[in-house]
Subunit: 137 residues, 2 copies
DNA sequence: TTAATAAATGCACTTCCGTTGCATGACTAC
DNA sequence: GTAGTCATGCAACGGAAGTGCATTTATTAA
């Protein structure tokens, strides 16, 4: 039995051909992808199908959205310890100004922030822009 | 001599009627505004004019963009110590999940973050979502 | 004061992206 | 095998950012 197939089933997502392909695609790099990226990778498939595939993945906790400030939503695979669904995933994201790619720095958590009185934090997003490991080398 | 007028001139922005109005509008609350907000406030004015007005303000360091994760760009006045143009303004932004408004917490700077080897930070953006002062009271 | 120049404004239009409605096709359960 | 659920594909919509060009307004130079 295929591992991806059983993984999707464990997440209560029917492992259709399209979903297997998209999931596999997302595992091939640790870089967050836009819907456009995915469309380009599967030119034959319909935009809407890919859109809904990713939305399904999101609902089932397989991927999470990444907002890196480019204005277009990106998606990245959830890691083992990714608690997106519970109390949000507080790792940070890095966007490279050179190669334009966004990576999840999963092991780097957002530090504690002191807010002014009356403000209650529920979620946060930290994006750092600069030069990535690959481009600075 | 009008203070707003001379302020705009000091920023090398010609103080036209439209620009004075938009600037004044932005000073009336400390909440970041979308282009749509501004359009609604000045229904008679043309979209493009407002768009370019705000862009001009941005270029001249009068306002800065705020990306609060809603997908639509917002703008807020730069404060006296706002170094958007030099090495980026590292204050944080708070978006209220109740009233949907985004405020600049200018006095709250983003703490130092340790990045993995090879990563060079040039800019960062931290958005905290939750309940604001006004809505939690 | 007027002519020449530059800047600001307004209109029309385009593009990009996310999203939805609806019809068809595939799979599952009984 | 049939009914029903879920997945897919096509078409279209809507919001927001952005551009080209013509027109108006302001600034400067003669």
């Amino acid at each position: 039995m295929n591992t991806i197939e059983s993984f999707l089933e464990s997440k209560k997502v029917r492992p259709t051909a399209m979903r297997l392909l998209v999931y596999k695609y997302m595992t091939q790099s640790n870089v967050a992808k836009t819907l456009g990226d995915i469309e380009n990778a599967f030119a034959k498939a319909d935009r809407t199908t890919l859109y809904r595939t990713v939305k399904t993945f999101e609902e089932k906790g397989i991927v999470h959205q990444v907002d890196d400030g480019t204005g277009t939503i990106k998606y990245a695979l959830c890691e083992a310890g990714c608690n997106c669904d519970i109390d949000r995933d507080l790792h940070l994201h890095f966007r490279c100004n050179n190669c334009r790619e966004t990576t999840c720095l999963t092991e780097h958590k957002i530090p504690q922030i002191n807010l002014p009185d009356g403000y209650i934090a529920e979620d946060m997003n930290l994006v750092i822009k600069g030069i990535c490991e690959h481009c600075s080398g």
